[in-house]
């Protein structure tokens, strides 16, 4: 097995991103505001393009400086998390389009799917998008080159002692 170089990934920034996505999507559903779901999709898209968590600015500029949330820096691969956000962006975009063309059931189902996956990641420590990334990597697809940190189940939050 080849040794890969892991990077420092702040999971608090990822968690903030997930919790904001969950909150805004639930609010969009309750208030029946497809525009809010579309806004979430847009921010996730911008985050994917810039290779950062879309709502990570809330953590970086508000929660972290005020000490309301402590950094949780782990040795991890950032690429699967970016892929997971991109996957979420695709679902959110599809959901928003469905909502704007009147396919409410399909649209809100896709939005709730994103909520469920984000909640599983934020509260259960399992990133489905990351698991899909590692699974695709097994087929040697270009761009899916990273392996899960040593001793970590694909998609699970790594234990800190993972090899550097």
């Amino acid at each position: 097995m080849t040794t890969q170089i892991l990077q420092k990934v702040d999971h608090s920034a990822l968690k903030t991103n997930q919790i904001i996505i969950i909150s805004l999507n639930v609010l969009a559903f309750i208030l029946n505001l497809p525009i809010l779901a579309a806004l979430v999709a847009l921010v996730m898209g911008i985050g994917s393009a810039l290779k950062i968590p879309g709502f990570g600015f809330v953590y970086k500029n508000l929660l972290k400086p005020r000490g309301w949330m402590k950094p949780d820096v782990l040795n991890d691969n950032p690429e699967p998390h970016r892929f997971a956000q991109f996957l979420g962006f695709l679902f959110m975009t599809a959901g928003s389009i469905a909502l704007f063309v009147g396919a409410s059931v399909l649209g809100w189902s896709l939005v709730w799917l994103v909520v469920a996956l984000a909640a599983l990641n934020a509260f259960g420590g399992f990133c489905v998008g990351c698991a899909v990334y590692y699974w695709l990597g097994r087929f040697n697809l270009p761009g899916f080159t990273k392996q899960p940190p040593a001793g970590t189940f694909p998609g699970m939050k790594p234990k800190m002692g993972a090899s550097l």
Partner: protein
């Protein structure tokens, strides 16, 4: 308009409730698994509540929040509580047997060795005390 919002709010609560129920079911499964593996930790039960704490040497939240919380609980309860700390990197088989996927994870066991509570992620001292007091 407001009745529609109420309806959607109710629906959101039901969906979130179903999610929380699924999470509860997973935790129950973890507790059964932990109870079945108690004797991987003890040859003889200590006949008092046990706090099983899974950690790793480099886990920052373990050092900054979980360890001080456990020390506080341990100081408050003294001999009435047994604390078992397990390094999930040093003992991966044990972590696997107990179903531990991330650290910190804490299990609260009663005096009969039954796992009664599991905390995935950081558990504050107040929460741990509350769990131990209900045993």
């Amino acid at each position: 308009m407001s009745s529609e919002i109420l309806l959607r709010f109710g629906l959101a609560i039901v969906i979130i409730g179903l999610g929380a129920f699924a999470y509860w079911l997973i935790n129950q499964r973890l507790l059964v698994r932990a109870s079945n593996n108690v004797f991987t930790l003890f040859k003889k039960l200590p006949n008092k509540p046990v706090l099983v704490y899974f950690t790793t040497p480099d886990c920052v939240p373990c050092k900054t929040v979980q360890r001080p919380a456990i020390d506080r609980v341990s100081n408050l309860l003294g001999e009435k509580l047994e604390v078992v700390e397990i390094d999930a990197i040093e003992q991966p088989d044990l972590a696997k047997a107990w179903g531990v996927m991330s650290v910190p994870t804490t299990f609260v066991l009663d005096a009969h060795g039954e796992a009664r509570y599991v905390n995935n992620g950081v558990a504050r001292a107040e929460k741990l005390l509350e769990q131990i007091q209900t045993l």
